[in-house]
């Protein structure tokens, strides 16, 4: 009988803990929700554009600044000298 009481009160305590945690989760979710809205608000594109203009030295990308890997010159075949230099930096040359 006593064991049953102990278990019962333990379960009740855990239930309360669970309810408290659930409440906290709801509170946190609601806070996340509000913060998401605020994040979206702060990311208004007009605002970002104005801030970017004022604080960054960036500008819209011009087509001639975009190159693909195919446009890059092919890599020069490595010479013996290159190889020696590479090994030197790695520290394998005795």
């Amino acid at each position: 009988m006593t064991g049953l009481y102990v278990v019962k009160y333990e379960v009740k305590r855990l239930d309360e803990e669970l309810a408290r945690l659930n409440r906290q989760i709801l509170d946190d979710q609601s806070a996340i929700h509000v913060l998401n809205a605020e994040w979206a608000y702060l990311n208004q594109l007009d605002r970002l554009e104005a801030l970017g203009r004022r604080l960054l030295a960036l500008e819209p990308v011009k087509p001639d600044r975009i190159v693909s890997f195919g446009d890059l010159p092919p890599p020069r075949p490595a010479t013996a000298e290159d190889e020696a230099r590479r090994l030197a930096t790695v520290g394998r040359v005795p």
Partner: protein
């Protein structure tokens, strides 16, 4: 003897006593059994209560564990998940006038604390006979705190939802807005009203906020520069029919629904139907090429204006000679386009336009969709004027989705404002070959024709300009124009269709006083394409590269059956 007598007496006594003890024992047994039964009952109940009683304390915990966070109305997000509309909890202030002790003082102090709460009207509310009156809806947390500090009895707060559009007026016409009770009144808010109330998952639009921003930004800039009364712009994914950006200006701030007037609520991109002018020649030319009646080398005589009943069909850029199909398209000849339509046949023209969706309201998922104005009787004169975009009024979205079908290889996709999950299923409207030839013609317009200003270098823009005179009453007005440009890029394999329209633009010094599509709308498309192409992952190409030129060049034979010259070299 006495002893015996005693013994006998005792024996008799024993008999009595025994009986008494028996009785007592029986009673004890009964009582014991009753008690045992009672204790057993208590014990059983104890086990029952401790182990099997779901219905008591744990209930609250279970409910909050099961119930997910509900915010009432579901969110709206863009194609990349950027929040466009959400619901936040706010407090609304109401009063029970019967509980308010001193209405005059309460009204006075509320008016002092809350902006736009008027002392006189509040007093009227507080002295009314009802037991519930709203004082003010949707207070900020700061205001709630101040009202609580006033300590007026009879005032209560009600927790309510309020619709918030964090990006302000961005994509306002697509989103729409809600009333104070969160009921959708326009746009996707109205279209998805039921779903957004019941489901928790957000509505994911096909809009990309970055593209939308560029579109609105450049459109607003052009409207201001040309003192236009409004404008519209659409960016459509040519392969799926998804609307990546759609703007109508002037627009509104859906956060303040009470400030929205009829004029700004009007969605020019979907609800407005207009005679499109020359942009419609895309369909006429595609139809003629697809029918096989005329080839790219063929042409029509555009020397003389056409006189039919009391109308005269003239060319704006008159060449007064025979024109090849590429020339007709490039110089935007009304005369030759009219002849083209008659050549194909009136019934065929009607069937073709029905096939590309010009004769029915656009199937887009918005409540504000305008039905096209189709002539009741489709006579020769109708066929001729419709060939160059007059006498049939359609919404810009219809034009854009039809054009996408012409350039994307010939598949028409229903335009959608919602992000597509699976592959898009289209309907073939023109052949692959016709589409390929139309791409060359549209590139030609931008390279050498009326749309040069739309050439966003590196992105191979192709398109068609359009300038229509607006009807004022029953006459066309020379002053009030609808100037537009419809383009697609990159023209060797179109991914997006871009449309810009300005309503009643005025010419400026830079445009030499012209307010036609090529002068006012085409440059806007160039600016938009230059800004959005990197965002959409369209890589620039070298326009002078041979393989690009070969894919897009057109034989411009300017003389009938004469020597052919290669236009693109």
């Amino acid at each position: 003897m006495g002893r015996v007598g005693f013994a006998a007496n005792a024996a008799r006594l024993d008999g009595d006593r025994k009986q008494v003890i028996e009785t007592g024992r029986t009673r004890l047994m009964i009582a014991g059994a009753v008690f045992a039964a009672a204790f057993l009952a208590v014990a059983l109940r104890l086990v029952d209560v401790a182990l099997f009683s779901d219905s008591y304390e744990p209930r609250t915990a279970r409910i909050s564990a099961d119930e997910r966070m509900r915010t009432g109305r579901a969110d709206i997000v863009d194609r990349n998940g950027v929040l466009l509309a959400t619901s936040l909890e706010t407090a609304s202030l109401y009063a029970n006038p019967r509980m308010v002790i001193n209405p005059e003082q309460a009204a006075h102090r509320l008016a002092q604390t809350l902006p736009d709460v008027d002392a006189a009207t509040t007093l009227a509310k507080l002295t009314s006979e009802r037991s519930f009156v709203w004082i003010k809806r949707h207070l900020t947390p700061q205001q709630v705190h101040e009202v609580i500090k006033l300590g007026i009895p009879g005032l209560e707060f009600n927790r309510e939802e309020r619709r918030i559009y964090p990006l302000g007026s961005l994509a306002a016409h697509v989103l729409g807005y809600t009333d104070i009770d969160n009921k959708g009144l326009a746009g996707i808010e109205l279209q998805h009203d039921e779903a957004m109330r019941t489901r928790a998952e957000p509505s994911r639009l096909s809009i990309d906020v970055r593209v939308q921003h560029v579109l609105e930004n450049e459109l607003a800039d052009a409207i201001a520069r040309h003192r236009a009364i409004g404008g519209a712009g659409i960016v459509l994914d040519a392969d799926t029919g998804e609307i990546v950006g759609m703007a109508s200006l002037p627009d509104f701030d859906p956060n303040r629904p009470n400030t929205i007037v009829e004029d700004v609520r009007f969605n020019r991109a979907t609800l407005g139907v207009y005679e499109m002018g020359s942009t419609f020649k895309i369909f006429t030319t595609a139809m003629a090429l697809d029918s096989g009646r005329v080839d790219l080398n063929g042409g029509y005589d555009a020397t003389e204006p056409i006189r039919i009943s009391r109308f005269v069909i003239r060319d704006f850029h008159a060449k007064r000679r025979w024109l090849s199909v590429p020339e007709i398209f490039m110089y935007s000849s009304n005369i030759a386009s009219a002849k083209m339509a008659v050549d194909v046949g009136i019934a065929n023209q009607r069937a073709f336009l029905a096939r590309v969706g010009m004769l029915e309201a656009s199937p887009v998922e918005l409540p504000e969709v305008g039905a096209p104005l189709v002539p009741q009787r489709w006579r020769e004169i109708n066929a001729m004027t419709i060939a160059f975009g007059h006498g049939l009024a359609i919404s810009p979205l219809q034009l854009v989705s039809g054009t996408a079908a012409i350039v994307n290889g010939g598949m028409l996709h229903a335009p959608t404002i919602l992000k597509r999950d699976g592959p898009a299923h289209g309907v073939r409207v023109v052949s692959e070959r016709t589409s390929e030839r139309m791409r060359r013609l549209m590139r030609l317009v931008v390279e050498k024709g009326t749309g040069k200003a739309a050439n966003a270098e590196g992105y191979l823009v192709g398109g068609k300009t359009g300038t229509a005179e607006k009807t004022l009453g029953r006459r066309y007005s020379k002053k009030a124009l609808m100037s537009s440009f419809i383009g697609a890029f990159p023209m060797n394999k179109p991914r997006y269709v871009v449309y810009v329209m300005l309503d009643e633009p005025q010419g400026t010094k830079e445009t030499h006083g012209y307010a036609t599509g090529g002068w006012v709308a085409a440059p806007v498309v160039r600016k938009i394409v230059t800004r959005i192409a990197p965002m959409l992952g369209v890589a620039p190409v070298d326009e002078q590269a041979r393989e690009v030129q070969e894919r897009l060049m057109v034989n411009l034979n300017t003389v009938q059956a004469g020597v052919r010259r290669v236009a693109a070299h």
